[in-house]
Amino acid sequence: MTARLAPPVVGAAEPVPAGVVHASGPVPTPVREADTHEETTRDGPWDVIVWDDPVNLMSYVVYVFRKVFGFPEAVARKLMLEVHNKGRALVATEPREMAEMYVHQLHSHGLHATMQRSK
């Protein structure tokens, strides 16, 4: 799992969250049904999830977690091992824009990250 940015670690084309479908081409643009959608989707915190992959080095994932989130080594290693052993780990819960930034940075480093409304 750098700005370059991916784990035993964490990555992308593989374990995908339930319901996730990897697109193989341009994705059709959904039609907005209500003007208030953007406003409502920005409400509330979002979870940032990092997914396991078989290419990223464990050490690299620890490095990315430390660099992107500023985690202490012990926290970064614990989360890396959670990704490695459980297939995924919740690494942050933030307002939407911050969650978007983290997802961007994690993908920039080659880690596979998704975001979902925090429950």
Binding site: T2, A3, R4, L5, A6, P8, V9, G11, A12, A13, E14, V16, P17, G19, V20, V21, H22, A23, S24, G25, P26, V27, T29, P30, R32, H37, E38, T41, D53, P54, V55, N56, L57, M58, S59, Y60, V62, Y63, R66, K67, E73, A76, R96, E100, V103, H104, H107, S108, H109, G110, H112, A113, T114, M115, Q116, R117
Partner: protein, 173 residues
């Protein structure tokens, strides 16, 4: 084989064997072509660019992917260009190519090496590959060996850039 990356003053010195110079150039050119071609059905593109980032909300998913796609593409192309420039300014030293990396170039190299490994992994379908079955006659033997070599280079860089991230057991995925 001696280390490729070593601490040098406050920076990092890289000394590449000739085969590593050729290998990195070949890998860089291959990935550059794929990024420029932009074939979204290509497994490398699917690995390096997220197919979904917000699976529970298609609108957010579309918006975020639209937001980050161009940045990810530019960052990856810039990284490959930087790799080219770094190697290009190397000087021969005792049979190797020596380059003193500038402050921000060591983490950049780390990221480019990661992209190259991810691309190889995607090309050979690493997610479906049983590494225990990859003997020397296996078609994936060479690319897997290249991935392992790049991992060794990454681990060297990590031990300099961020020693706390490295375990004593060596590169593990």
């Amino acid at each position: 084989m001696s280390a490729t990356f070593k601490r040098h003053g406050d920076g990092v010195r890289m000394e590449l064997e000739s085969f590593e110079v050729e290998l990195l150039a070949e890998l860089r050119d291959g990935l550059h072509r794929q990024l420029v071609d932009g074939d979204h059905a290509d497994p490398v593109m699917q690995r390096l660019f997220p197919a979904q980032v917000a699976p529970e909300d298609e609108f957010v998913d579309m918006e975020v992917r639209d937001l980050i796609y161009d940045d990810l593409l530019r960052e990856r192309l810039d990284g490959l260009e930087a790799l080219h420039a770094i190697i290009d300014r190397g000087k021969p030293h005792r049979g190797r190519l020596r380059v003193d990396l500038k402050h921000d170039e060591a983490p950049l190299m780390l990221g480019v090496l990661n992209d190259l490994r991810l691309a190889i992994g995607a090309r050979i379908g690493i997610t479906k590959l049983d590494r225990d079955e990859v003997d020397e006659d296996h078609p994936a033997a060479y690319p897997v060996a290249v991935m392992d070599h790049l991992a060794w280079l990454q681990e060297q860089l990590l031990s300099i850039i961020d020693p706390a991230s490295v375990s004593s057991e060596g590169p593990e995925v």
